[in-house]
Subunit: 289 residues, 2 copies
Amino acid sequence: MQPTRLSILGVGLLGGSIGLACRAGTKPFHIMGYGHRRASLDKAREFSAIDEAYDDPAAAVRESDFVILCTPVGQFLPILRQIAPALKPGALVTDVGSTKRSVVRAAAELLPPTVHFVGSHPIAGSEKRGVEFARADLFDKALCIITPTPHTNPEALDQVESFWKTLGMRLTRLTPEEHDRFLADVSHLPHAVAAALIGMQSDAALALAGKGFLDATRIAGGDGGLWRDIFHDNADNLRDSIKRLRDQLDRLDRLLDPKQGRELSTWLDQTAARRELLLRQKLGEVTPD
Amino acid sequence: MQPTRLSILGVGLLGGSIGLACRAGTKPFHIMGYGHRRASLDKAREFSAIDEAYDDPAAAVRESDFVILCTPVGQFLPILRQIAPALKPGALVTDVGSTKRSVVRAAAELLPPTVHFVGSHPIAGSEKRGVEFARADLFDKALCIITPTPHTNPEALDQVESFWKTLGMRLTRLTPEEHDRFLADVSHLPHAVAAALIGMQSDAALALAGKGFLDATRIAGGDGGLWRDIFHDNADNLRDSIKRLRDQLDRLDRLLDPKQGRELSTWLDQTAARRELLLRQKLGEVTPD
């Protein structure tokens, strides 16, 4: 069986974990890794996440059947420009970015028509950075959002979905627009709010923080540059999400009126019940409707 | 050695854990438990969290040296009224409430001068409810905030602090006013925001939630009635905390301007670094200044 020639552009936590997960499967892969830091490339090779190391993305994709963009979202545009002339006809390109409209649009504009792009967003990761935190099971049972458009090649779509399935992922399809709107609510806003919750604390208050505060703000531990890219790329949706969070806080403010005791406890019970249902769904105990 | 006669009023997660922690220590205790649900009292006795069960708080404190209020904050006032005539001269009373101004004020007004009250807030717990989740080590190494006033009896203060120390707690002192202000920022607001983050989601967005969202909203899993009491009791401070969170979100909104890229990533990096420092302090790796 001929190994799939796979290029991982960006060998951090996600790129490294893809490499390790490919090794753990039954299909053979030959993996080219690109990174702009020598140390990351060396570590990725040491951990067997990649076979070959490149500091030039074009060189890393020249022989490749399948290319995955794993850098921060803000580097997708320059990297697509660099790899466009080097890609083999028939090569597949996908990504792991947390926003989808911009990369889908850029790929359609910049890649040659002989190459097929399909947007992906595996919902997996951690606030940790770097290939040293990569894990072969990072994607196992997690959800991968695929964002085809009316112009997506059906065979390419099928192959990209098959790839994530071999890594153990569950799949769902959304348009790039739906993806960016929903993720603003359920991922980018919670990150922004966690950062705001830390930013507003006095040292005296922070000294009294318990486990609840640490859990609630864990997501804000991520890399600033990486999240800046995501926030700027999805700024319109994030602004709308912030607005709707403000509406909820306005409602809470009204419920702090002592006369609204019953309504306040009902609201708190309803949100607690909704989270409990979500938790059970995520644990696979309940099938969502 | 004569056992300390201890009354635990409210045998849920916190009250039950106090009982279990007392058993695990070397000093002897005889524990009277009060609860308004027979099932909780039976379970508390079955788990040896209490020795005697009462459905009347006055009866539960009549012979007691040391009384701890462990019910939801909203029940402190009626319970103080009920136990006031039954308390022995020299009895000590404390509590585990998440707000401190109201209980300190109520105790000063309602308890006889022969009885000494000292406010306590052990920063320990979980979103789980009920004595079945009680743990003997719940308080171990956690922080207990003690809120004396100029009128607090120094000997009583010393005895209450010694009690929490025997349960393995670290101690800090704040005025009731400082306590309620800081806790609004670092505990009540994060809870309110977690509830708002759940409340604003569409089902479609919620279906895409990852581990980050579940962690960020874990604290909103608590009991609605219990948190309503806390929110109403500390409404003035919580409103101020909400206002300051809004200021942070306004700032973020401005930083979403593409021209503010450097400022946005600096802000995100600073908040991430602040959380990292907090985490290391909590893990005991770094001594706070």
